[in-house]
């Protein structure tokens, strides 16, 4: 135990959005209870690689540091997860860090997750309450339904489910599981349901719901345990009904 313990990292780096990626190795002193982010901070403090050469500090994204914001997601030993909760003690060494491949790299481990926020805008993942006058209180939501919906609302737009999905890639326009489950959340809300048909029609467009091929990797990978495949199957049922309603005409567009 007298010998100084170290932690080895192999990090995929990239200097600009369109330059070629390369690997750089680092070796830093071990401290108990380290996580990947504290190790990255250590490297930032003294940016010297394993060969002893001075290098640039590594760029990555982070915010909450407690697995609720989703910003720090990256591939750690090949699997996408949050680096703030990836404990060094539980990882096989050398620890390989790489940016998620589904998103454009901004620099090093930092990726641009805009496509997910754009999807949320596309599907109107909110409850519209604005009017030119006070609309008064909305309909009440049963408590047990609220508890159920809370689970869906835990999504932190981290992108792990998109990274895991074989149908989300550069050859396809699939929006992925994350915005779909949000459609189910907002369609379940008593006020949100007033725009149910609009959201359904949107995800029945190109690159939408029907592109799911049911590999079900998403539900196995979501760090928040969101029942993504149940959401997708439930939306499939809704979309079936919606397609009948819009083809034949219906008095029940939103109820």
């Amino acid at each position: 135990m007298s010998e100084q313990k170290t932690v080895r990292f192999i990090i995929t780096r990239q200097d600009t959005a369109d330059s070629a990626p390369y690997n750089e190795e680092f070796e830093i002193a071990y401290r108990p209870n380290m996580n990947v982010i504290s190790a990255l901070m250590e490297i930032r403090r003294n940016p010297v690689n394993a060969k002893g050469e001075k290098t640039t500090p590594i760029t990555w994204d982070m915010n909450c540091l407690e697995e609720v914001c989703g910003a720090c997601s990256m591939n750690i030993n090949g699997k996408p997860r949050q680096s703030c909760t990836a404990l060094v003690d539980q990882l096989e060494q050398p620890i390989r860090l790489a940016p998620m491949s589904t998103f454009p790299v901004t620099r090093d481990l930092q990726v641009d997750r805009s496509r997910m926020f754009d999807s949320l805008k596309r599907v109107k993942a909110w409850v519209p309450i604005d009017g030119t006058y006070d609309l008064g209180p909305g309909p009440r939501m049963p408590e047990r339904k609220r508890q159920w919906a809370y689970e869906l609302s835990k999504c932190m737009t981290c992108g792990v489910c998109l990274e895991a999905c074989p149908n989300v890639n550069s050859k396809s326009n699939f929006i992925g599981p994350q915005p779909l489950s949000q459609v189910r959340l907002f369609n379940a809300h008593p006020t949100g349901a007033m725009n149910r048909d609009e959201r359904l029609e949107t995800i029945m467009g190109d690159g939408g719901l029907a592109n799911c091929g049911n590999s079900q990797n998403c539900v196995q990978s979501c760090p928040k345990g969101i029942p993504l495949t149940t959401s997708i199957a439930a939306l499939n049922r809704e979309a079936t009904m919606q397609s009948f309603r819009s083809f034949f005409g219906s008095d029940h567009a939103v109820d």
């Binding site: 719901l209 990797n217 499939n236």
Partner: protein, 202 residues
């Protein structure tokens, strides 16, 4: 793809795979199974199918047009996936990949099979027990037929599962699990029927 047609195409693809293509395949396997009863019985059963009224219309509407759409659109779907069972070796992800592989194998097999039987029939050959016996005499062809038939049955059985999920029939995890078992049963049952029919010719 034209604007916002994808949902329609995907659902049509899913539907046609089961009705009529999957149902036709099941019926075809059952008719073939008459071969286990002997040459006479098989020729009679096959002859009955060939003598159905409006057989060209039936063939076109129930077999060739739906099959063609399902095959072409299916290829497009298969080649837009980026398989990752190396990283995610979950059961459903394997099924996802095997569904695409078996689809491509089935397409190659069916194209060859149609050429060897239906097209030859149109050119004057008679499709009967004798013909199949001659084809399956070749051990390479026998292996090709076994792989092709099993791929087609797998593709149908697993496709039945996807159909149930894609149309929102099986929503909850438990119901999807039950459908997995049911389609596994379909796979085993049809495989027994298909293989028994093949081996009746050798």
């Amino acid at each position: 793809m034209a604007d916002n047609r994808e949902f329609f195409y995907r659902r049509l693809h899913s539907l046609l795979g089961v009705i009529p293509v999957g149902l036709f395949m099941t019926q075809h396997l059952v008719v073939n199974h008459f071969a286990t009863k002997g040459e006479e019985e098989f020729n009679q059963a096959a002859g009955f199918m060939a003598s159905l009224p409006f057989v060209y219309v039936l063939e076109a509407l129930i077999i060739f047009l739906p099959l063609l759409f399902h095959a072409i659109y299916g290829l497009y779907i298969a080649f837009t996936a980026k398989n990752n069972v190396g990283r995610y070796s979950y059961f459903r992800n394997w099924m996802f990949m095997l569904q695409r592989w078996s689809g491509v194998i089935t397409l190659v097999f069916v194209a060859w099979h149609v050429w060897e039987t239906r097209v030859q029939a149109a050119l004057g050959a008679e499709v009967n027990f004798q013909m199949m016996e001659n084809i399956l005499d070749n051990p390479f062809m026998l292996a090709f037929y076994i792989v092709g038939v099993l791929a087609a049955i797998f593709h149908f059985a697993n496709g039945l599962w996807s159909f149930c999920v894609s149309w929102g029939i099986a929503v909850s995890p438990r119901s999807q699990q039950i459908v997995t078992y049911a389609t596994l049963f379909v796979f085993v049952a049809l495989s027994i029927i298909g293989l028994r029919a093949i081996f009746a010719f050798v």
